[in-house]
């Protein structure tokens, strides 16, 4: 049982607009990635708070709007909580926050997801658990050096229970990555750090799931998910303004109409 991605995007549009929050384009680029991960994880153990549960760390914390909507869709968040997104007194900040139940780690300061995710993977290995850790990083976020400290150690340790999904939309908040500090060839970089790698259409849940469901590797896995920032709404796609802007009025109606098609 899974929620169609268009429906998820409509919900994201609704909560981000109501909350007056930025980052809608980032949220739209990761919808299929989140859906694939949440379809893959063993949710019952997560709901039970089991020590050996699968874990998801959203390193690109500014996609919080998408994460909360996905958690809501998978029964990990109630209607009222979701409705409070970005409002005064709410725990649902514009960045993923561990004060919200089922969110493993607070992020938003970039480069703070991979090391904790690696620590979780190391701990699960010490417990001899089969559980896995999924971490979603942005491509712009990979400018932060702390990521590469974690990637280097994960590769060295052969952390087969660690899955790094890169939301590779080619943009940071200033524009195309290539115009500041290019990070390609990304797949080759991960390979050279002893990762098993795959490059997929980041808007195809099936392709993503095809990679993260099997785990025969004795290595950590990097999935380079090629995405479009702002995916699903034509005037937001690859338009950096929508990293900041909250859709309202006519823009909101126009976006909604496109997502209703």
């Amino acid at each position: 049982m899974t929620t169609p991605n268009k429906q998820l995007r409509r919900k994201i549009l609704e909560v981000i607009s109501r909350g007056g929050s930025p980052h809608i384009a980032s949220a739209f680029s990761m919808v299929e990635i989140l859906n694939a991960v949440f379809r893959t994880m063993a949710l019952e153990k997560i709901k039970d708070g089991a020590r050996d549960r699968d874990r998801f760390v959203m390193s690109k914390g500014h996609g919080a709007g998408a994460l909360y909507v996905i958690m809501h869709a998978y029964g990990l968040m109630g209607d009222d909580d979701l409705a409070s997104f970005h409002a005064n007194g709410s725990l649902l900040a514009g960045h993923a926050s561990h004060f919200v139940k089922y969110i493993e780690h607070s992020t938003g300061a970039l480069g703070h997801g991979l090391s904790p995710a690696l620590g979780m993977a190391i701990g699960l290995r010490a417990l001899k658990s089969e559980a896995r850790v999924f971490v979603l990083v942005g491509d712009g976020e990979l400018h932060e050096g702390s990521n590469w400290e974690a990637i280097m150690l994960a590769g060295h340790l052969g952390m087969e229970n660690l899955y790094v999904l890169v939301d590779s939309n080619g943009y940071d908040q200033m524009g195309p990555l290539g115009s500041s500090c290019g990070i390609e060839p990304l797949r080759a970089k991960f390979e050279s750090f002893n990762f098993a790698t795959a490059e997929v259409d980041g808007h195809s849940e099936q392709e993503i799931m095809g990679v993260i469901q099997k785990s025969e590797n004795k290595k950590p896995t990097a999935v380079i998910c090629r995405t479009v920032k702002g995916k699903g709404v034509s005037f937001m796609e690859s338009n950096v303004v929508w990293h900041y802007r909250t859709p309202a009025g006519e823009e909101y109606e126009k976006a909604l109409a496109e997502l209703n098609d």
Partner: protein, 305 residues
Amino acid sequence: MRAILFHKIYESMRRNPNLFFLTAGVGFNLIEPMCKEFPDRTMNVGIAEQNLVGVAAGLSNLGFKAICYSYTNFLAERAFEQIRNDICLHRYAPIFIGTTAGFDNAGLGATHHALDDIGALKTLPHLKIYSPSSSESIGLIFDEALASDMASFIRFTKNDFSEGHPVSDANRFVIERHAKILIISHGKMVANSVRASEFSSGFDLFAMDRIKPLDAGKLKDLFAGYRAIVVVEDNFKSGLYNSLAQWMAENDVKNTRLHSISVEETYRGEIGTAAYLEDLNGLNPKQIADFIGLINKDLSSYDEI
């Protein structure tokens, strides 16, 4: 101190399967027995302090208690945001152990002096800060940190000062002879202050090895009992002195004067032995005694008026 600390860590690892020991490429000839006996729970993450702290956060998420070992300045300052966001924000309770605090790495130059660590770290909520001053106190402090449900930062030096008897609190009198002046100190400067007794008996000495949270209960009595208090520390004034000054202001303390012997707030190009750099900053035992002498004289002339 280091041998005692590592013996403690080793014994704790043996007793407690929930403990992890992590180092960022430090601890040659110290960690090898642990690597051998607890290979799943002992890890050298490489020279990568940010990753060290982030990994500790992930382990804490699973309910493990992590001990993170590195040089004081790199742990406190290179990984400052990791300590803030990944540890303190989450209220995780690892133990950070920073070696070579103060002027321990004197000859290696300013990059390796830990003089601003306390001032930096004490701005963070949900973090205890310790600066053990003796072989006896470091064991007690490690046990306290191990039992704590809050993160702890223990910054220590190569100093091998022993009080010759067990201590019951990290914050305690080391010399109590009812003088008019009290030295409050921590870490290696407690040993220097003890040696200042060779030149002056005009002071009592209180070791405040638990710097944060401030020992408010004890401070009331300490400030009531002395005419002047001198904070002696191998740190900038942003360390314990600054905390005590704030405490005085908040508690409207008027009858006791607070002085500081600390490291001048600058980064020097000049190097030397630890003793040499302490000397430049007025921290050697004779200089401490002379400072006490001046204040005593000042207090006496005040009494005569």
